[in-house]
Amino acid sequence: MKRINKRGQIFTFDFIFATGIFLVILAGVIYLWDSTIYGIDSSEKNYEINWISETTAEQLVRIPGIPKDWWKNPENVTVLGLVDADGGYNRILDIDKLLHFSNITNKNYSIVRNKLLGTGKYNFYAEFSCLNDSNRDCFSGIYVDSLYNGNLTCSNGFNFSVINNRISSYLWKEAEGYDEQFGTSTIVDGTVSNSEYVKVGADDWMLYNISFPADGDYKLWARCSKTGAMSREINVEVENVFSFIVECTSNDWSWTSTSDAKEVKVGWHLVNLSKTSDWVNLDAILFTTDLSYNPDDKPDFGNFNIMQPISCITGNYSTENSILIVSDTKTATFSDVAEGCNPSDICLRDGVSQPHNWDRTIRLKFVVWG
């Protein structure tokens, strides 16, 4: 006898299959919908973060801020801007504002962030570096109104050492980087700075054309070594105006300095190094206004430009876990170019015109991330 299927037709395979297909299509549509919305959200967030980054970088290099002399009372600043209030030009910055901007950002990051970005949603950091990426010369010798003697440090450890209202200068010159010489020989040696040093004998000399960024009392350091028991003297003449005597006492490479600092005027100076007696090996020389600086106990042969960070970073730069990082880069310059000089102008000193090429142009990279 044939069995009759008592089930209705509604639970057929067709029905279940159709429902399954419908649900799969529905899930697909929802997925597509979600991913489209996510894409729109992401691009909008990207647009917003770009907009904020560009606007804020522009703000820093184009306006003096409110009040215009806010650096005198940085806690009460309403609008942050780094432009020199007296300069009257966009992109001419005031070093006092830069230093205090870095300082208040270190102290009250969240307040500065909210003032700059207009929101607490994102984080930022600002990186100030010289246009010449290899050194920090653009900051050297700039006049600082707000600090006579002291130090200001950026978030990444970049240190502004200020002495007599000026940012300390560290003028590094490799011995083999002379402009003219007589009788010396350059020796390749992997254990010295820049892998080369100069062997200087009696009557030999070397001439360096060095640009001093500002008036100041400069101390001279020389990295040298010698052979034999007697110490050797190196005579360093600055344009026949005065001379330093550096005494090289060690048979191993070591730094030796003049006992006192001497005043050097801003501008280009011819520096003549000569030997007074027997052979001496010279690796590098350093003129600095930072009288407490001793390169002998420092890494990287005491080269300030290598061992110190090259750029000043201020703000929150721990971006490891960030999804979006957007940066905008602007260039600007400092109002205090060097006393009496403007960028690309001719500086007159003692009635003699000298080309001045002390480049104070800086690069501001403003990064917003979230």
């Binding site: 509604i10 419908f22 919305i37 909008e44 904020i52 606007t55 703000q59 309403t78 207009g118």
Partner: protein, 140 residues
């Protein structure tokens, strides 16, 4: 019985579908409102920042939209806050270069440190910089 179960199943599926579609619709609407609000705040900030940074004597025109996704909205400036705030259910803000803003438009209200513009129709605005102060005026 089977018919009832089937109908219930179909209804449940449609209900879930309805809820999901509704939620997605709300999400999309929120996104649209957010985009419109943010762009309005950015447009106002861009114009004020531009006129503020170019210096004394400059002026230009821009148009404020009459609504943000169908709703009226309010633009607010605070004396000690370098930002413009746009409010319409949600609040959006954009950073400004200046707090020296004076609104001379007929629809502006100033109370204490707050300057408020209530918008419910499209408004053409003349914006000018006079000795460091940014003026918002009715466009004639």
């Amino acid at each position: 019985m089977e018919f009832l179960i089937s109908i219930s199943l179909v209804l449940i599926i449609f209900m879930i579908m309805g809820i999901v579609i509704y939620q997605k619709y709300v999400g999309v609407t929120d996104t649209k409102i957010d985009i419109a609000g943010r762009h309005t705040a950015d447009t106002i900030a861009e114009n004020i920042n531009e006129i503020s940074s170019v210096g004394n004597g400059y002026s230009q025109f821009f148009t404020l939209p009459g609504e943000i996704y169908g709703d009226s909205y309010t633009v607010e400036f605070y004396k000690n806050e370098p930002a413009v705030f746009v409010k319409s259910g949600m609040t959006w803000s954009s950073p400004l270069f200046t707090t020296n803003i004076t609104c001379l438009m007929s629809i502006c209200e100033t109370s204490g440190d707050i300057t408020r513009i209530n918008l419910n129709s499209t408004k053409k605005v003349r914006i000018s910089n006079h000795e460091g102060v940014v003026y918002l005026e009715d466009s004639i």
